[in-house]
Symmetry: C2
Subunit: 477 residues, 2 copies
């Protein structure tokens, strides 16, 4: 399996860009990052001199003298891998299909029929292999996946992530209430508990240290579960010390439904809290319409928020007040929420997060609502890392962290206006007069998967395109 | 020049999709469209029988027996070329650069410095060649271009469009007020008139019948022009019977500025009207905040509206009320508005038009505000054709119209989940169980330029990718 084959010490040479904080992006034009055979960043060197690399490598000792060199020679930079904090892998074939529906009818019309077909294991393999290829190609190095209710298909998704080397939290979806059609729900609370536990056990058996794949308990959302099922999931989370993911306050109709179904609860967030599901390992997707009291509760419980801007726009859910949530101290990452969201690309959701924040600004006349490019990139990397509980491991290029990264390559326009291979090189056109900050913005606002020419997780190359050819060499030939 | 080299009679065989009306899309699974050597559609055949093509060709007479055949063999369809009704070609190198600015500071910080550099003709050639390649690759067969104030560079853009075979309205930008910096404005009303007229004359000299390129009078927007300059442009429009394009009511600060600058005018629209610039050949970009009276006036004058959703979001201008404008009977197309908009792709603006309409729905709680996929595609094709005054020529596949089209190809996922060449084939994943309407939606919501494998204008192939190889053959080998 890719995740267990050996890798060699490697020095990544060239510009790199990552978030230093929510509002500041570090752009290092002449960097060298030393990554050992465990995928750990050992040294981060900045402002290296022209021709100074051999000496620098020499200084690091014998173990680096025959290291592999991966060097950026054209216009480009290394960037941390993206973290998708909320994505439904089985909905991939429905990408772009939603018509004018909103959450509750969208579930019935598009989602449940598709997900129920994952009882067929060959179909599940086909879709999941395809989707993991897709997310890797977009630079997603870590994903918090919802699977379906089916244990074999859920386990297959974990197998595929491990084999392909993509970091993942993989969750069997738990749903036993009659909101879901009879053909697609857990038959009882006992089944919910047993099947969720079976999948947790399987995922822990294939990656005992949870280095690449981990289980995550996944009650779909409150209306999908009976109260005793929610209780069982809370108990399972405690017994097995596992992450939890669910949806919260995405759509106004959904919020009304929760009020009806849980009349004794103070709020939607309170439903999860009273069932033991609001922990510091809980990822709450959407959080569009939370009340101030709910926001306080989520903060107290140290639960995390996954902002899914493309989805919230596509199925007309609303604009999550990200600035306010950030100001209050919430931990927030981005989620593509395929297929409520129409793109598996976190980069597209960086843009969409910015667009949604501008619509909020238009609605409220508060200029402060606008997210900057730097802030949106932070959410996509370090913010997401904190949401999935990996803030010490991934999201930035710091000594001791693991090398989860993508190589971004931008195409340069020739003197005659032509670009050989513009089609392959992707949509960004560099004219040569741009500042470094301009280059990053051009990538953010017009880049796509073609600009992600290589992707690594824990030091391992997990995706590459033809444009990566020639970037690798040995230090001392 | 591409635009004048001969083409042969050609039969386009395969599925085709186009708008029948604002709300209905015709999806023809087994079509054959006969296009003669003038690029005119002579016959549109539907529901053709398996193996029935040779007989069908025979029936059409001798001139078709040795016609070229362009056939879709994989999963895909012919679609009308896109019409970009508002785009600033010289701003292409600024794509993605806007920070948190809004219209008026964005102009000063990003736009005027870039546009002023088009006094250098080699730079203009480089950018324009590159940009026309880009827009063609996205399936844009007709564009209403703003150039800069420079006559030589503007003429160069027209030359390039003609040479590359892209239909275009090309406008020298007129701006003489002190809103613009001294280094980038017309020195006087006389210069505005003379330079605009010189460019009109040049463009009419290279394409006397206006078959591919036409001039368009382009007062930037009211605040950029003194009243007598606007009067001169109105006079020029009348004298030369030329199209007009300008901006209207994009941003609230801009509207206030117009009130200050034109205190005697009843409204922003009235400024244009009283200067003879509100004609049935006028394209008004944005129209985000028009008053009911202005909307009536625009309708009376039969002026057209270019909706620029990506731009209106990116620089936080607002949400144009497209549903209301459609209900009132306005003629509306889509504009990418590069680089206020962050993408030269009309397809991306189809999506963005839908997103903006959903934000309007969220703001107003009027579900009716939502644009459907069909409606947004209509705006991108037939709507745009009417905006540029070519509704009888392009925008759909009807006998007597010209063949401005793109071949859309979608990638099919293998049984094992893999796709050979997924990277080249683009972002749409077809699993094989999709309905035709699903396929179109998948393209709309997740497609990009990789799915546009060939583009024709007036029957001439003006763009192709490697994936087009093998689609062409001769009818009777």
């Amino acid at each position: 399996m890719a995740a267990s084959s050996p890798i060699s010490n490697t020095v990544y040479v060239g510009p790199f860009v990552h978030s230093n904080s929510l509002s500041t992006l570090e752009i290092q034009e002449r960097g060298a990052i030393f990554v050992d055979s465990n995928g750990i960043i050992c040294f981060v060197e900045k402002d290296i001199q022209e021709g100074g690399l051999p000496d620098l490598i020499q200084q690091k000792g014998d173990s680096w003298t025959d290291a592999k060199i991966v060097e950026i020679t054209g216009t480009g930079f290394f960037f941390p891998g993206f973290i998708d904090t909320h994505v439904h892998a089985p909905q991939h074939p429905n990408t772009g299909l939603f018509g004018k529906t909103t959450l509750l009818d969208w579930l019935q019309k598009y989602t449940f029929p598709m997900e129920s077909s994952f009882s067929k294991l060959p179909l599940a393999y086909r879709v999941y292999q395809n989707f993991v290829s897709r997310t890797l190609s977009h630079g997603t190095t870590t994903a918090a996946y919802y699977a379906t209710i089916h244990v074999p298909a859920t386990n297959a998704l974990a197998d595929i992530c491990l084999a392909r080397g993509q970091r993942a939290l993989v969750g069997r979806v738990c749903m036993n209430s009659d909101l879901s059609p009879e053909y697609y729900r857990d038959s009882s609370t006992e089944t919910s508990y047993a099947d969720s536990k079976a999948s947790i056990n399987y995922i822990r058996s294939i990656d005992p240290k949870g280095e690449i794949v981990k289980p995550i308990i996944t009650p779909r959302f409150a209306p999908s579960c009976t109260p005793d099922c929610l209780t069982a999931m809370g108990r399972l989370a405690k017994e097995t010390d596992t992450h939890v993911q669910t949806h919260i306050s995405e759509n106004k109709g959904e919020i009304e439904l929760v009020k009806e179904l849980f009349p004794d609860s103070k709020s939607y967030a309170d439903v999860y809290d009273t069932h033991g599901l609001l922990t510091d390992k809980t990822i709450l997707a959407h959080a569009v319409h939370l009340t101030p009291e709910e926001r306080k509760l989520v903060l107290q419980r140290k639960s995390k928020i996954s902002h899914c801007p493309a989805s919230n726009t596509a199925i007309t859910s609303g604009c999550a007040p990200i600035r306010d949530l950030l100001d209050e101290g919430h931990t927030i990452g981005l989620g593509t929420d395929v297929s409520g969201g129409n793109s598996p690309s976190v980069l597209e959701n960086v843009r969409q997060a910015i667009w949604v924040s501008r619509h909020l600004c238009l609605q409220t006349s508060k200029d402060r609502a606008k997210l900057s490019t730097e802030e949106a990139l932070f959410l996509a990397t370090k913010g997401g890392a904190a949401v999935v509980g990996m803030q010490d491991k991934v999201g930035g290029f710091e000594v001791g962290m693991e090398w989860d990264a993508q190589m971004i390559s931008l195409g340069v326009v020739g003197e005659d206006g032509c670009r050989d291979g513009a089609f392959e090189e992707g949509p960004v056109d560099v004219f040569g007069w741009e500042s470094w900050s301009d280059l990053v913005e051009k990538w953010v606002y017009s880049g796509d998967d073609r600009n992600t020419v290589a992707v690594w997780v824990k030091g391992r190359l997990v995706h590459r395109t033809g444009r990566f050819a020639g970037a690798e060499r040995v230090a001392t030939p």
